[in-house]
Symmetry: C3
Subunit: 357 residues, 3 copies
């Protein structure tokens, strides 16, 4: 520990001669490494392995802010997902976020690049498990046809969106916050089919003291499937921190690809000793067909060795109706996924270590 030094890295600006003289700048290097032993079992067998990001997604990033004076600032953010189990065998990229921004204390922030969709943010914000690991609500692709083609507005439920222009409200509105996002489809103007157009999303909320409540909506026009699909997502969530316990609720509905799925999630976190209990119950309702609903119950505990390091354990179970086969998500590069038979239940647990820097 080097307590006499500031928290941020000090770097030389890489300015070519065209940019003028060298200037000093700050770069913050940050990250999370989270690994767990995960086990998933269903009627068709079980699988055990080393999973990645069971409590928080593993990542490595670089970011910085430049004070331009007069309440203005410029900034950048490059954040890459890390597969700690295999060392990113599929390749390293700034898939989580890559943005450059101009912001004003009074007016807000203009942000360009790849960022999370504001139509998705409530899903993870109001889930006690942050929508990761076996306990995560699994709300990023309710209608089950998401494609994750980077560089385009994804067909269904994009968790993150490339080619986007974002406007974020300033932090000076007495608790109100919000983000509007427009993402280019980047297709030719004279293409007549619907295979891909653009995406819009917004989120507005209010957070003050113990209360946090937010609404989100997004639309993707066209899609990456052969026949274009339009996708619409709407959700609302709230939490209230009573101190002893922080209950939270989220409702989301998603349409597209000929389907509609509703999700209701109810959960809570509660500080216990040096750690935190997490509990969540979720109901998934297929609106377009009968007898295809699912329920999920998750329970977990995280023990803080420090503010930066946590040991955690999570157990989760999904029950499926006769025509449903919803599974459990585990992030792992090589872990085999057991096939879930219609009507089967699935059980999973994780025991892990999360370290942030």
């Amino acid at each position: 520990m080097t307590s006499t030094l500031p928290r941020t890295l000090v770097a030389a600006a890489a300015l070519t001669a065209a940019f003028g003289a060298f200037a000093q700048s700050n770069v913050t290097l940050f990250g999370v490494l989270d690994a767990s032993v995960a086990h998933i079992s269903t009627d068709n067998g079980s699988v055990t392995g080393l999973a990645n990001g069971g409590q928080s997604s593993s990542r490595l990033g670089f970011r910085g802010v430049e004070d331009l004076g007069g309440g203005l600032a410029a900034g950048f953010w490059l954040e890459a997902g890390i597969g700690v189990d295999t060392g990113n065998s599929g390749g390293f990229s700034f898939d989580r976020r890559s943005t450059v921004s101009l912001s004003s204390n009074a007016i807000g922030e203009l942000r360009l690049g790849r960022d999370k969709s504001p139509a998705y943010l409530n899903i993870e914000t109001f889930d006690p498990f942050g929508d990761v690991g076996v306990g995560g609500i699994g709300g990023s692709n309710l209608i089950g046809s998401a494609t994750s083609a980077a560089g385009t507005p994804e067909g269904s439920a994009p968790k993150r969106v490339s080619n986007s222009i974002n406007y974020l409200l300033p932090a000076t509105l007495g608790g109100f916050y919000g983000q509007v996002q427009y993402a280019f489809g980047e297709q030719l103007s004279n293409i007549e089919n619907d295979t891909l157009r653009d995406a819009v999303a917004l989120r507005v909320g209010y957070g003050s003291g113990p209360l946090n409540v937010a609404f989100g909506h997004g639309e993707v026009r066209g899609g990456t499937t052969a026949v274009g699909v339009d996708y619409k997502s709407t959700n609302i969530g709230a939490s209230y921190n009573f101190g002893m316990v922080k209950p939270m609720v989220v409702f989301a509905t998603e349409r597209g690809n000929g389907r509609r799925v509703d999700l209701l999630g109810i959960g809570a976190t509660a500080p216990v000793g040096a750690g935190e209990i997490r509990a969540a119950f979720s109901m998934f309702k297929r609106k377009d067909i009968d007898d295809a609903d699912s329920k999920k119950l998750s329970l977990g505990y995280g023990y803080n060795l420090s503010k930066r390091t946590q040991l955690y354990g999570t157990v989760s179970r999904v029950s499926n109706d006769d025509r449903a086969n919803r599974g459990l998500a585990v992030s792992s590069s090589a872990l085999a996924s057991p096939a879930i038979a219609l009507g089967s239940s699935v059980t999973g647990y994780e025991l892990g270590l999360r370290h942030s820097f």
Copy 2:
């Protein structure tokens, strides 16, 4: 800002036991993030999207220098291109530069690895738009058959070259500068065909006070096409900074693949207020066939919010002869390219934000 600290990062040398004791070293972290809204239109339609590096190529790098005493120094440079629009969806690599060097104040620098070709450097140095974005002169592949196979001397107009040994003149020659580059083809000695051999390039120049003038020449023996091609490039450029305006000119000629193209670029930059006006006019002449020339006119303005942050706008138009279909270059991972019909003109603009660190 932490003004009491030096500009460079302080890092621990990663020395294994075999290397001896730990030693202290400096690593500089640097980069540029540049994103713009770009629009390109031609007879066959138009496309709009978020482009990357409209004024300066987005990048992230690590570099350092070790003083060995007696005027000697060792150094390294790792620089990766960044796609801020999509977060490097195609994968992150040190494609811009990866070198290790030994240098002497008196004798010069020996540099090993992947570096820019000295036969290319004048193209970007004497273009007011630095050969990037819609306004860029587009001079890196005049004969239109470049292949960008990393790890080999590329077939045509290599902007960067892997497997190279470079010698650079020292900075103590009263304004004279220069670089000689040899890049291995890395093929077996007893292979008789011409599919790939090696590459040589050099650049010599003189820069002192307001004047800068430089000559470049490069040859690639063989190539990555099925039938080997030899490629030759020669160029010369000059600029003179009058203070109020800095005019510049570059002439380049390129032969290979059965073609020859000449390029004449005339341009200028001029400081205006807190920013800079950029203007360029370029003429492309196909010497091997008639009626296939092109002209390009580009105009831009960059407004400096600080030495590190700039807002910019550029507009550019290409006019093609009846047998030419030259287009406009925009760096974007997903942006569709409209097909340019023979004899059509193309118009493009970019409005962007560039931030360096």
Copy 3:
């Protein structure tokens, strides 16, 4: 040089609101860039090119340790291989190591993620050339069927293993050290074939004063070949530093894929002036067929310009029996490999520059 500052980077912990307040942390940025001109010749011709990591594998890494108090610590390590010759044209990943750890001075370390196999470590530890470059003992895949599929226990001679749980002895055992590794196959429990199961490995050693001796053993159950193979590796090595010279010996035996190969390596390093002489003689014996042995003789010198920077030269020659065609390993993204005819000999040399930071 900034001698008043500590050796480690100071970074801001990237803690989201869920993790609590920001906390200060240290991140160490480290690396090696090593490039050489390499030449390999055999009966079928020769090849010359720019090679990577002739004396030490080129790399870039980030690591940190958090003191949790009471002798406990948490830590992480992300280390990527670098191809300095081409700038990682195949993509950047933390293929060398990606781990998160919890350790205790008294009990030892629990390490999760991708790490070197303890069954391999003696091979490089007791080779004067560290098993890299033309002089390297070439002991990482004796039976010649290694697959390097990241994310799974590789079929033969895994140098590094993903999905692993490691326990390392503490450094307080009077010179005794050791590591046990278990790597998940991550396959379904009800899969009956042998295509892939799991891997176990261990290493125990004693190092005190001039003496270092260690034993290693590893097994991979199943494999990534179509018909599963079991693989077993056992080795033992020792070195003794007399000051003037440090002799070392390693014996390794490897079975799998219907083969067995034994390796005996004898070598030494000796400080001479500001550098070090390295010499090694290795014998490879095919136990399953006759007349298929090989011998390798390597000689090298490294001249230290500083503790961080070395110029080196290595020459090596392999002699093959009538039914053997063992070659020389050079790390280079594009360098062509001459085909080695049965019974041919192979000669190689490297002249290089290694710089660490």
